[in-house]
Amino acid sequence: MSNAITHARSWKRPPLIGNAWLRWAIIVGALVYLVAALSTVEVNWERVSLGLSQGWRFVEGFLAPDFTSRSRDIWRGMEESLTMTVTSTVVGCLISIPIGLGAARNIAPLPVYVVCRAIIAVSRSLQEIIIAILFVAMFGFGPFAGFLTLSFATIGFMAKLLAEDIEDIDETQAEAIRATGAGWWQVINYGIQPQIVPRLIGLSFYRLDINFRESAVIGIVGAGGIGATLNTAMLRYEYSTAGAILIMIIAIVLVAEYLSSLLRKWVQ
């Protein structure tokens, strides 16, 4: 019995990279690269000190927000932004459903899958600003270009997440429906839809608040909304008005966040 205890008494977690040489080479290499990369960044300290005072004026404006003197512009911008956000989220989500179905490998035939994945890839690889510039050039300044931009971006986002959700479903539930002799649409409606609807609703609300934030950004390139108002305020050095707009954006995003978390809890 006594000589049964011959095993070692110290234990250490095995390292992620077994080879000690390789491990240290990677750590030292990463540090050297970091130092080298930082040393190439040129900082113009004069410009920074100039910018600091400008930045401070901005912060001052932010601390003393002026909601009143440009209130008409702000309200119009907000109204445009909210309209853009809601319409583009609804349209984008509706279009993303068939594309998401087609982009799920477990239910779509290969040719459909390839086409739908390509649509998603195009939508996701083009950043909102680039699309907004394109649509502004095509349809002129204003919220219509913004609406198209956000719808387009929503399709890529929603369809991708939806497709991944469908690929992750519990296959046996769909199999059981298939075994009853149900058709393809019935399998979707009974075997798959109940499994993905809660997340679909949650994602739609998440996208709603992303679209609102994006609407503030694409306004800067002329696609209407609160972004255009914000841009004008900045160009006029009206930092108090800009501060007021930023505060309103933050408030609306917070409210949207809170409402969407409530809704997600409710649909679970």
């Binding site: 539930q173 059981a176 009853t180 149900a182 649409w185 019935q186 409606n189 075997g191 109940p194």
Partner: protein, 277 residues
């Protein structure tokens, strides 16, 4: 009724799950399918309704070759083959009633099923089946709110709602406790006897198989190594199916191990329904 001829299934990975399996099931016969994990039980059951496509061989249901059916004919055949699953495979977020009615999907149009407008006869049948399996009070509950035994009863009701000519049952008791497992097996076998419905039931538990089925087929590495009455299942045959092991406990009929092993016929009606209601 059902005739399987030299059925073979080789998966894309090269694994040979079934290797020349042939047998016949007569109407009203309840067949137990036993064998070690990976011996091809699930594959065999799924090849019959082509949830898994067999590589070669034939499956005849009432002299119809299931393996040669086109897509819509396959759907029409599948709706007459009820299937009960190991993990119940209920649609968790739908109500018990929707789950049972989903057994009729092969018979109703997409729009009717989308709007949940099933024919009155289907609804009547669903209520009758829910009463039969003792779940009348759970009709509008979500499937996810039920216990394991209740869920499997919903699974049974869904399969019967199809008006099946054949039941395929894949490990119906694997996720259940011994008492519920017996009640579920008893329910399935009673229903089969009532309707003269043939069934193929794959089982892990040899003791349960011996207790309930008319005939046992033993699979090993995709081949049938035993086909006969449960009483003939002795140590030599169990060793042939599963490999060398001490089998004495199974033949003792487990009197010492499990208190709840009395034969179904000896139980009073109340006791038999105890776990069902």
């Amino acid at each position: 009724m059902l005739r399987v001829e030299s059925l073979t299934k080789t998966y894309a990975t090269g694994d040979k799950a079934l290797n020349g399996v042939s047998f016949e099931v007569l109407s009203g016969q309840v067949v137990g399918l036993i064998g070690p994990s990976g011996s091809g039980k699930s594959t065999l059951i799924r090849c019959i309704n082509r949830l898994v496509e067999p590589s070669s061989g034939r499956v005849f249901l009432n002299d119809n070759d299931v393996t040669r059916l086109g897509r819509s004919e396959l759907r029409r055949t599948r709706r007459r083959i009820g299937m009960i699953f190991q993990e119940y495979a209920l649609i968790e977020r739908l109500t018990v009633m929707e789950n049972v009615l989903s057994g009729r999907l092969g018979y109703v149009s997409f729009w009717r099923s989308l709007l949940r407008q099933f024919p009155q006869s289907d609804v009547d049948k669903a209520f009758a089946l829910l009463a039969r399996v003792g779940l009348t009070e759970q009709t509008d509950k979500r499937a996810s709110a039920l216990s394991g035994g209740q869920r499997q009863r919903v699974g049974i009701a869904r399969a019967l709602e199809q008006d099946p000519e054949l039941l395929l049952v894949d490990e119906p008791t694997a996720s259940l406790d011994p008492k519920t497992a017996r009640q579920i097996m008893r329910l399935i076998c009673e229903v089969c006897r009532e309707q003269n419905l043939p069934a193929i039931i794959s089982l892990h538990d040899v003791f349960l198989a011996k207790m309930f089925v008319d005939r046992i087929i033993g699979l090993r590495a995709g081949k049938i190594v035993f086909d006969g009455a449960p009483a003939k299942l002795d140590n030599t045959i169990l060793t042939e199916i599963y490999g060398e092991e001490d089998w004495t406990e199974i033949h003792d009929d487990g009197h010492a191990m499990t208190p709840d092993n009395t034969e179904g016929s000896e139980l009073s009606r109340d006791e038999r329904m105890a776990g069902i209601t």
